[in-house]
Amino acid sequence: MYREENAAKLRQVLSRHNVEYMFIGKGAAILQGFPDTTQDIDIYPRKDAQNNRSLVAALKELGFEINSRTEKEILKGKDFIQLRGEPFDMDVVFAPDGFDSFEEAKKYQVTIDGYPALSVDGIIRTKRAAGREKDRASLPQLLSFKEYLDERGRRKKT
């Protein structure tokens, strides 16, 4: 099960291993104050050999059971890794919908209390591109949240 302390530990360990990544999906929206729930956390790491190696080392330190075969597969390069069970549920998404590269997504990155996260704009973009039923269902509220944040920003300026 995912708990708030897992997020802090995940951030610490990924940072210690110099993994370049950002939180994406609903977890990223929740970090930014979006009032919703999720059962797992999605991260988007940069897909390159060095970052993949660092990620594997970080996952092992976190307690995920990464055997040599799994490690080899991750290092070869995957688009999607789904981790369930202990220590917590997490999806590692190397190619989220809506973005062609990590550099492109990086333009949409925000940092919330030290957590690198895809901005609400970016999340809306991925959900639109993914087009699953659950994505389409969450869009109206995300768009409203974005509108609220924009309005709040304008009010702060004046």
């Binding site: 708030e4 929740i30 729930t37 059962q39 699953r132 039923e133 269902a137 509220q141 949240f145 609220y148």
Partner: protein, 123 residues
């Protein structure tokens, strides 16, 4: 409740949520619910391409979990169909329909791949 009132209430929720510290946002937001198909089987699954993952979800997960893709047009048609089922004066907005009506309607309308146990659970 009209659209303006609903928006006002929603924005009040957003304002309250933004006042919460990040740890509190995570505590409230991370809730485990059992997802058939996803929470069963191996602890680690991997896909070379996103398209393979999407197809796996569509083949192996019950439709009501929401992992099936749908075009924007089809989605709009579903919402319209759900709206028609509303009694006048109920005051449910399109958004509420999505949240409250769609999964059950979809379940009844479509044959999905959920095993019997899950069908019983959602009925």
């Amino acid at each position: 409740m009209n659209a303006a009132e609903e928006r006002k209430r929603e924005w009040a929720d957003f304002e309250a949520a933004l006042k919460r510290p990040v740890a509190e946002r995570l505590r409230r937001g991370c809730i485990h619910t059992f997802k058939p198909g996803l929470d069963e089987g191996p602890g680690i699954r991997m896909w070379n391409r996103m398209e393979e993952y999407r197809l796996w979800c569509e083949k192996n997960l019950p439709r009501w979990l929401g992992y099936h893709r749908v075009t924007e047009g089809e989605w709009e048609r579903r919402i319209e169909a759900a709206m028609k089922g509303t009694r006048p004066g109920r005051g449910l907005s399109k958004r509420r329909h999505i949240a409250l009506k769609r999964p059950v309607k979809d379940y009844r309308r479509e044959h999905h791949v959920a095993p019997k146990d899950y069908r019983r659970d959602i009925m």
